[in-house]
Assembly symmetry: C2
Homo-oligomer: 211 residues x 2
């Protein structure tokens, strides 16, 4: 496992003890979700857009309409992925916080074309909706042309993780303290009233599993 | 209910049909979560930081260490709140998507001091952890000084909501289609091994409720 690169941006200035520098930690965060927050600069101002992502060993991929203002950056973007695992209820308000896992990835995005674009779209689809690339109708030429896929290198990334009980056991205020965990799970599929086929196994089997 | 203001930034250029312009929609999104993604420009690049928020009728509040680089902006920031409700599994890959509710708020943040700062910190604490402001130890002078609270006006905001089945019932590819819902719920509290008091009702009663 190689270390995540440490740039001026990703060096952990704050909460250093929460930083994790191994690449496996990054992939754990990437695997655990499918919606990221993409930060771009539009007209001189930051814009943060939630969007679906996929990834492989070298890149994270985001997609959207070719007309979208957030998907035409020629400069650095920030992709942040956050999983909220629970509330940390400490003895003092000051020590209250969140148990979470998050990754921040910085890079200049590259718009993909041709086979690369199709591969990335498949990776993205299979990450969010495993089994659907083969089951659903794959994009035709027109649909592909209407879709932008950006690749952002995973070279410059940082991961932060906070887990466990509150840190203020030495506080004189003698009250209960602990964590209120938050669970995220897939529910039974809801069939489109206009659909005529039964739920396929690859969808049905996901219900009840953690997100 | 007044309309959300429509600025150059918040006018819905894309997916106009998903835009909701009433203020109640904004408050619904604000009430439904407690972690936002704060977008700021640091050294010329966008930086997207997950952080806890609170709000009242006029402002959203975010907080953090006074040393944090993301909490010292003198220019516009973007606060995005996103709730992921499910995966939209369409007949075509192209129509796959996410059922979600999200809000984007743009504003120049103002760092609060004095009574305003304390009020905002209470609003933030009570939003994320109802009941804890009175139960836990409230911040002392030193802790308050170490905390930055930023207020961002809710004047310039947009809300987008996508719910319901896929939109491609007319697609000739005859497969199952529908939604795989995602549920978020509070779990039973996990007591700090070093705590000596029983779980208070305001914490216990939250378990099992949706997030």
């Amino acid at each position: 496992m190689s270390d995540l690169s440490e740039s001026e941006r990703t060096r952990h200035r704050r909460l250093r003890e929460q930083g994790r520098t191994d690449r496996e930690a990054l992939f754990e965060v990437l695997r655990a979700g499918f919606v990221c927050h993409l930060g771009v600069i539009v007209d001189g101002h930051p814009m943060v857009v939630p969007t679906v992502y996929g990834f492989d060993t070298g890149h994270v991929y985001v997609h959207g309409s070719v007309a979208s203002r957030s998907l035409t950056p020629a400069s650095t973007v920030c992709v942040t992925i956050t999983h909220v695992d629970g509330l940390v209820l400490a003895r003092s308000v000051f020590e209250h916080g969140v148990n979470y896992r998050s990754a921040m990835i910085y890079g200049v995005p590259r718009a993909l074309e041709g086979a690369e674009k199709l591969d990335a779209l498949r990776a993205l689809t299979e990450h969010a909706a495993p089994g659907q690339w083969e089951y659903a109708r794959q994009p035709n030429r027109k649909e592909l042309a209407a879709t932008t896929i950006l690749a952002i290198s995973l070279e410059e990334a940082s991961v932060k993780v906070r887990q466990g009980p509150p840190d203020d056991a030495d506080d004189p205020h003698d009250v209960w303290a602990g964590v209120l965990p938050l669970a995220h799970s897939w529910q039974p599929p809801v069939t489109d009233p206009l659909a005529t086929r039964p739920v396929p196994d690859h969808v049905r089997n996901r219900a009840g599993t953690p997100f």
